[in-house]
């Protein structure tokens, strides 16, 4: 029996989760502390049939100096998705490696290591190149990495490309004198 | 016939049948394309490919054996052809056939692949030894039914001379090996599928499962040599098969000759030779067509699968054919 309220109570009692926000009736998010993520995921997988790991990703909260990891789980029977979030320090990003939970976790952690610079000690092949090769800049998916500047600095941009702001173009060229633009 | 004239005649016949082999490759590519719903490349495309490959400006050196591989292959092809009488009763096309040429031909058929294996091995590319091991393993497998069929022939006609075997098959379809030893023919034709490396026995040169076998590193003029050999070798194998199992071609007999005999009061010798060549062309074309049609309609066996296949069904058929031929 899958009752979202019972689940919320259990998560609060066991792992100090701060509530469950339901976006849709089949999608909800909760947040726990980093050290509790592994146990919480295992608990959800074994006791609440959240057996399927959709993905692991990260959102760079640069304003708060945090990295927010999102573990999206799916319960096929209850037709419910639950996203477990946790926030880690952006300057020293270290997270517990959960490669034992699901087989694909190691791959996700390799990608996060490369794209966000999060370290997962003990994760197999975590230090190998995943998508990039010989990358020596800051992790590219960080918010403060300027991909355009890097591209123009590195890849010999062909002259002649003019990029114009479409709003400006509409205001001046297409509909001159329109107030709402 | 002096040895000089003989050499000249053989050179001429090699030239003729090499061109025939090229055109055969081109036309078969077109037939394959038709099965796939395409128009396909021009018939003369093999010529252009060979010119281009020989006109490449650079080539890579991998060692002496690497260069000798295609040479061995070409030697195998030429040797195979040189000891097969192409048209019976035509001195121009009887090449160097002698009383024991069947054994020599069967040696030459596999001589080229061994040389190729050595050359490909020295190229150092990991794909080459994979293809070589597959190729040699398969070769030993499809040798078995082929040799059994040939033994059946030798026992039946009590000779090892191709000329004599062809001679014995003259005078109508009833005398062909196809009619006298059908089981041996079946075994031999299945072996021919493997010998000519069409599907389902083409894992050696498969593009998908590890490209593309032994010739991975061969390029430029070496590849051109290999292509030339392919034309000659195909023609030689086809001629051998038609000679052994499908009545061969004769300058003084055969359907076309009879047709000429009806319309003309007396058939001149030259015209008879032309009739013999035409008979050979028709028969080889049909035989090769069977291969190609089978090839386009099957996936590939893996190496061990094809070896199991060859050592099971065709070998038993060949044994049965041998027994029938003896008793």
């Amino acid at each position: 029996m899958h009752d979202i309220r019972d689940l919320e109570k259990e998560l609060k009692r066991r792992y100090g989760a701060d509530g469950i926000q339901s976006n849709r009736d089949d999608l909800a998010f909760t947040a726990v502390k980093p050290h509790a993520v592994g146990d919480a995921l295992a608990y959800l997988r074994d006791h609440w049939r959240y057996v399927h790991l959709d993905f692991i990703t990260c959102v760079d909260l640069i304003e708060e100096g945090r990295l927010e990891l999102v573990y999206m789980l799916r319960n096929h029977d209850a037709k419910h998705d639950l996203g477990v979030k946790t926030r880690i320090d952006r300057n020293r990003p270290v997270m517990e490696s959960l490669h034992g939970h699901w087989a694909a976790v190691a791959t996700y952690q390799r990608e996060l290591r490369e794209m966000f610079g999060i370290d997962f000690p003990g994760c197999p092949r975590v230090d190998e190149d995943f998508a990039l090769e010989g990358w020596d800049e800051m992790p590219p998916m960080r918010r403060d990495f300027d991909t355009r500047a890097y591209s123009e600095r590195t890849y010999f941009p062909r002259p002649g490309r003019t990029t114009s702001d479409p709003a400006e173009h509409m205001r001046t060229k297409q509909y001159p004198g329109r107030a709402d633009l | 016939m002096t040895i000089g004239a003989r050499i000249g005649a053989s050179a001429l016949s090699i030239f003729i049948f090499a061109n025939y082999g090229f055109l055969l490759m081109g036309s078969m590519a077109r037939i394959r394309a038709r099965v796939q719903g395409r128009i396909g490349q021009p018939v003369y495309q093999p010529y252009i490919d060979i010119i281009k490959n020989n006109a490449r400006r650079t080539a890579v050196h991998h060692g002496v054996m690497f260069y000798l591989g295609p040479v061995f292959r070409l030697a195998g092809g030429l040797g195979t052809f040189l000891f097969i009488p192409a048209v019976l009763g035509a001195p121009l096309f009887e090449n160097f056939s002698f009383s024991g040429d069947l054994l020599l031909v069967m040696y030459f058929i596999f001589f080229g692949q061994l040389g190729m294996a050595l050359g490909a091995g020295q190229s150092g590319h990991p794909y080459s030894p994979i293809g070589v091991s597959r190729g040699l393993a398969q070769m030993t497998a499809f040798e078995m039914p082929f040799i059994l069929a040939v033994l059946a022939l030798a026992v039946r006609h009590d000779t090892l001379s191709i000329t004599a075997i062809v001679q014995a098959q003259q005078g109508g379809v009833a005398n062909w090996t196809l009619a006298t030893d059908p089981l041996a023919v079946v075994a031999a034709v299945i072996a021919f599928l493997g010998m000519s490396m069409h599907n389902p026995f083409s894992v050696v040169i498969a593009p998908q499962e590890i490209p593309i076998g032994p010739p991975t590193e061969y390029h430029s003029n070496m590849l051109g040599t290999l292509q030339t050999n392919r034309a000659i070798f195909n023609a030689a194998k086809l001629v051998l098969y038609v000679n052994l199992f499908f009545g061969g071609a004769s300058a003084t007999d055969g359907a076309i000759y009879r047709l000429l005999d009806l319309v003309l009061p007396t058939v001149p010798a030259g015209l008879g030779v032309v009739a013999g060549v035409l008979t050979m062309v028709v028969k080889t074309f049909l035989l090769y067509l069977v291969n190609v049609v089978v090839g386009v309609s099957f996936p590939r066996f893996r190496t061990e699968q094809s070896i199991r296949f060859f050592l099971a069904v065709p070998t038993l058929i060949g044994l049965a054919g041998l027994v029938l031929a003896r008793f």
């Binding site: 849709r24 999102v70 190998e128 995943f130 633009l181 | 599907n199 998908q208 099957f298």
Partner: protein, 392 residues
């Protein structure tokens, strides 16, 4: 192959190489990226012992374009030409998921007819992608004829897409608020006749493929997926259904108009096949016929009405803060978009979840050892992996 067979092979620990390549018992072979038997542009690092693969590592990233980074610095509407580039064989799923996520976050409503057209577009994309895949699966075993036939049929489907949206490969037909335009005059009739042609070719393909002893020998018993592997490896889509797991997002969690359509889940045991490459091929061909049937149903019951709800001025379009995750059943499995908005006119974070992410890396690295080196291409194609959705 089952878990028990694996025990005779060394295991990876921290990526250290357990095979002594100097011993002469093993040979390292790279299959790809420059290889005809590879899907897209990825590479497999094979360690072979004789003719048998004893270790397989997937290497991706050859197609990494940094989509998610590029989306963060483009306006919401500017991302629409971008998302479809993530998945070349069937870009429409990206278009739909991104549009649906934007609509959910911005509260934009979609007209009824637009939903039907979207679902029809997705099914046509599914059929097109399957046609491409079928050729690849047969070609991986060396049967190029099937590929020639099916890719031609795919071309006919692409003609319909082109007439509808103006693009052969990248359609950009599904936009926020509906679809970009109504169907042309007499388009449904042409779709109908094309589907008939495709069906006739499918008959030929089934005749040639499934009655073919060699194909049965090659594909049978190759890459068996046990049902208990499904959850551990996150297997979705036909790979899971062929293993007998009844999971199809179109039925479990109906999106668009799938709850009004009449169809059922295609599973391997339903077809009476094993969960190997042969069974997966059969399942996918059955799903092709199913989506042909679905397209016909939708064309019959297509309602009239507007097809597009105009969003506010898209150049200043600010999406209210929020986050959502939407998933759809694409050809290879569960395709998902996780979209985060911080209230600005650009997305804060977009994560694209492709089914090949687990199929091509974790699952393939698990199933690789023990197969014949000549079967690696067939195994990979039978999982229907597609690299760009792994690295994006």
């Amino acid at each position: 192959m089952t878990t028990k067979d694996r025990e005779k092979y060394p295991v990876h620990v921290g990526g250290t190489e357990p095979f002594d390549l100097e011993s002469g018992r093993y040979m390292k072979v790279w299959q790809g990226p420059q290889h005809p038997g590879i899907t897209g542009n990825m590479s497999l690092e094979l360690i072979t012992s004789g003719d048998e693969v004893v270790d397989l590592k997937t290497h991706v990233g050859y197609l990494h374009r940094g989509f998610e980074k590029l989306m963060e610095r483009r306006k919401w509407i500017q991302n629409f030409p971008l998302v479809c580039r993530i998945c070349v064989p069937e870009p429409d799923f990206n278009e739909y998921l991104y549009a649906a996520a934007v609509e959910e976050l911005s509260g934009l409503t979609v007209p009824e007819r637009a939903n039907w057209l979207r679902a029809m577009n997705l099914e046509m994309a599914r059929l097109t992608s399957y046609l491409m895949w079928l050729g690849g699966q047969a070609g991986a075993f060396g049967m190029g004829t099937i590929g020639q036939w099916t890719v031609t049929m795919r071309d006919f489907m692409l003609d319909l897409f082109e007439e509808l949206s103006g693009g052969r490969i990248y359609h950009m037909y599904i936009v926020p608020g509906g679809v970009r335009g109504d169907v042309p005059q007499g388009w449904f009739d042409r779709v109908w006749s094309t589907l008939t042609t495709v069906e006739s070719v499918l008959d030929d393909v089934e005749l040639v493929l499934f009655n073919n002893a060699v194909f049965k020998k090659r594909a049978g018993g190759l890459g068996v997926i046990d049902p208990d592997m499904v959850d551990r490896f996150g297997i979705t889509g036909p790979n899971a259904r062929a293993a007998g797991v009844r999971r199809d997002l179109r039925i479990d969690r109906p999106y668009l108009v799938y709850d009004e359509l009449d169809f059922s889940i295609v599973t391997g045991d339903g077809l009476g096949v094993e969960s190997d490459a042969y069974g997966r091929t059969k399942c996918r061909v059955a799903e092709m016929r199913q989506s042909i049937d679905l397209i016909r149903q939708m064309m019959d019951r297509m309602p009239e009405g507007p097809v597009h709800e105009a969003p506010p001025n898209v150049l200043h379009w600010k999406i209210p803060p929020g986050e959502t995750y939407l998933s759809a059943e694409c050809t290879r499995g569960e395709y998902g978009y996780y979209v985060v908005s911080d209230g600005s006119d650009k997305p804060r974070r977009i994560y694209v979840r492709g089914p090949s992410y687990t199929h091509a890396v974790a699952l393939l690295e698990h199933m690789g050892p023990g197969t014949n080196i000549a079967d690696t291409a067939g195994l990979m194609v039978s999982l229907h992996t597609y690299p760009p959705e792994i690295e994006r």
